[in-house]
Every structure is written in structure tokens, then in C-alpha cells.
Amino acid sequence: MEWKRKDLITIEELTPEEINLILDTAEPFKEILRRNIKKVPPLRGRTVLNLFFEPSTRTSASFSIAAKRLSAETMSISTSTSSVKKGETLLDTARNLEAMRVDMVVMRHSCEGAPKFLSERIEASVINAGDGNHEHPTQCLLDLSTLRENVKTFKGLKVLIVGDIAHSRVARSNIWGLTKLGAEVSVCAPPTLLPQNIEQLPVNVYYNMDEAIRDKDVIYLLRIQRERQKVGLFPSTREYMNLFSMDRDRLKKTKEDVIIMHPGPINRGVELDGDVADGKHSVILNQVTNGVAVRMAVLYLLNGGNKDEKII
């Protein structure tokens, strides 16, 4: 199995073999992160540009660290300080950056499809670090990598994703990734936080959290954004907590060896109780560590793009 793609835009388009190749490649990088000198030379002389049109701390930092560990040069541009403020189009921004000979662009944008748009027009590799409500492929890959450390197989693994499914690129990427590897995915949320065409996604739907959590091996909580409440998608935060929060009492109703995951940042007490987030079932900090290893694997495999495949 060899990696052929120039870009990483979605999980939906990947084959299970491609997903496994990334996960396998991430394993040796986990060992490198435990070394005293955590730097290896494969991307020497490459330049990785972080182009974030939306705020992000964790993902942007994680990509920067990953690139630096591989000896690449990194540069970060956020919209607040860039020419985007002056009205430059996305394509013009990208062309200018490419004229500076950037090899890889890590991109986050509030518009679905923006990374794909860019990838089709520039020679550099493009990595989607989150596009609108569409996908967040490296988050899914780090979740899969973390799960792989804790379960024997994905085949038949029962995973429940709880929260704002409609507005979550993390949920969408994970639904694709998990089902491609053979897991059985369910979602649980108030109907207002489910996407309109949920039946087109390969998932079971629950509206009752207590019923949903009973037989699941993994419970994945999504961040509840308070802005959603303000526009009336759920009546009050307290009501959401009563019905959908993963707290100590609900934890007692789950399988004994349930795994608790969250993509961060956590609203402690809202979607997830502090005790549960820090408890023995939680693998949340492993997710963060593995994020660096998985992103190293993606950067290594793309390596500025396969020369034969490049457009232009």
C-alpha cells in the first residue's frame, strides 16, 4: 500500500486501506514523541504554512509541532493579520503564498469546500484542518489512532456520538472513518441539533441519552456551543445538561469498560462532567498527544505532494 494523494481533504473519500496506512505510519511517530530529542529529519527544507481563517489553538499548535518535529519550516497566518482583511480573495492569497514556494498548506476555513477549492488550484499539498460543518479529517484520524490503543478491533465496535451533530465537522469525519473501519456508529442529540438528512448517513439515531449509552463501547461527546442556544436550537443549557450531559450518574449506566472521548475544548459540566473527563474511562489527553503523531504521519506521507500527480 502506497500513499498516492497530493492532498488530505476528507475522510469520506479515503479507502479503509488509506486510513490504516496513516494510522500505521503514526505508530512509530508516537515513539519519537517520547524521545529525549523529539526531532527527526525527513521534511528538512520543506515549508508548511498554517493558513487559519478561523480561530484555533489546539489544531494549529498541533500541526506546527508536528511539522517542526519533522524538521520542516513552519509559518502561520491568521486572517486577523493578513491581507484577507484588505479584501484579497482566497485564490489570490494562495497564489501569492505559492509564489513563495510553500510545499504544504494546512488550512482551516468556515466555508465547506474551501480546502478542496484551493487544492485543485495550487501545486502545494493541502491539508484540511476543518472546513465549516463539513470535515475535520485529522481529528478523526487521531480519534481512530487513540481508539486503536484501547480496543482490539473496530469491527462491530459500538460508538455513540452525542451533541451538536448538525454543526460538527468532527462528527461527520468520525462517522465516515469509524464506519469505514467496521464500527457501528450511533448519534444522540435533540432533533434540532441533527442534520436535516441524517438518514443519508450510516448511523442509528437516538433522542434519549439514557437509552443510547447502555450498550456502547465508546461515548464521544461533542462541544456544545452556547451560540447555538442563543439562536434557539435548545431552550436552555440547563435543560441540555439534564438530558444529554455525560455526568457521574449516567456513567453508572454505561458498560463497565466504556471509553469516553471529546475533541476539546471541553465545556466542563455542560456536555461532560469534570469528574468523568478526568476519570479512568477518559482518553481525552491521549487524543491530544496522538494528534501530533497522526499529523506527523499525514505530513510525512504527503511530503509536499507526489511529483507525478501535481497539476499545472
Binding site: 500505521d24 512509530p28 525527513p42
Partner: protein
């Protein structure tokens, strides 16, 4: 295709190398045996076992994957698969016996030396190889050699081991282009 070494010849060569290691280092205290993936680590395990039999003491082994330190990563089309590196102890002030199956251009060994130095500052590094086939492109020389095999550049030397290939042998064949 010609068979250069069979199972017995490999065993004898490794046994001699083990004795030479003991002799040169006056025992096996302070030694770490590190093999280069994906055949060298298997030979390293065998040499470590022989050293333990000769000296009656345990010895620490490790394995090294040099992929990330290769000097041709930016020019090859597809990225090679990375295997695990496992150096279980601090290597500062240790004597490292670095083991690989075939010594050819010396570029793999250059990568391995760079990677080892990133782990610490060993007292010294000695190199043991099952086959030295010549054609060095870097100033690198083995301390222990199982067999010197004169080759031409268009030939391939393959070391097969039971653990991976089901048979112990060294073969030489023409490169198919």
C-alpha cells in the same frame, strides 16, 4: 541466482562475529546490540543470544529504523513505510554494536549513526555486518564482517532470514530493470 551462504554458513559467521565482539571488548559488560530494521534486528537478536551463551550474562538489545534519516527521502516518489525504533535504555557512555545484514554504499549506516547520536552520546559504535559487498560511497568500514562478497553494481545481494522469509540464506542475483 546463486546461493552464497546457507543456514549453516550464516550460523558459523554469526558465531565467529560473536566471539570477535567478546574478544575485542574484553567481555560484554557495557555493550548494547542494536540491529537495523528489517533484517539487521533479527541478526542482532541472534548475535545477542550467542553473546549471552558465550559469556553467561544478559545483554540489552534494541532496534533502529533509519527511514526518517535517509538522504533520498525528498527525491523518491512514494514515502517508504516506517518501522519501529526501540532503544530501551540510555545509550550514553555505552559501547554499541550496530548490526545490519548487507554493507553496500554505506548510506544506511550513515543514517543509523545520525539517528543513534540523536539518542545520546555512546562511548563508541562498532559495526557488524553479515555481508560486505563493496561499492562504498561514504567513508564507512565494518569492524566485524561475516563474509566479503565481491559484486558488480547491477547485482542484488539478498539476506533471507527464517523469521521473515522462512529460510536462512544469502543469495545474489542480477537486478531486474
Amino acid at each position: 541466482m546463486a546461493k552464497i551462504m546457507d543456514e549453516l554458513a550464516i550460523k558459523r559467521a554469526l558465531t565467529r562475529i560473536a566471539h570477535e565482539i567478546v574478544e575485542k571488548n574484553g567481555g560484554i559488560d557495557n555493550l548494547i546490540v542494536i540491529g537495523i530494521q528489517r533484517r539487521g534486528d533479527i541478526l542482532a537478536d541472534r548475535i545477542a543470544k550467542l553473546l549471552q551463551e558465550i559469556e553467561g550474562k544478559n545483554i540489552i538489545t534494541g532496534k533502529l529504523d533509519i527511514t526518517l534519516y535517509r538522504d533520498d527521502l525528498s527525491s523518491i516518489a512514494n514515502q517508504p513505510v516506517i518501522h519501529k525504533t526501540d532503544i530501551p535504555v540510555n545509550i550514553d557512555e555505552k559501547t554499541i554494536i550496530l548490526i545490519d545484514d548487507v554493507l553496500f554504499t554505506g548510506r544506511t549506516i550513515r543514517s543509523a549513526l545520525d539517528e543513534l547520536i540523536d539518542f545520546g552520546r555512546p562511548k563508541c559504535i562498532q559495526l557488524a555486518v553479515l555481508v560486505d559487498r563493496g561499492h562504498r560511497e561514504l567513508p564507512i568500514k565494518a569492524d566485524y564482517v561475516g563474509k566479503n562478497i565481491p559484486t558488480s553494481r547491477d547485482e542484488l545481494v539478498d539476506v533471507h532470514v527464517k523469521e521473515i522469509d522462512g529460510v536462512d540464506e544469502v543469495i545474489i542475483e542480477k537486478r531486474v530493470i
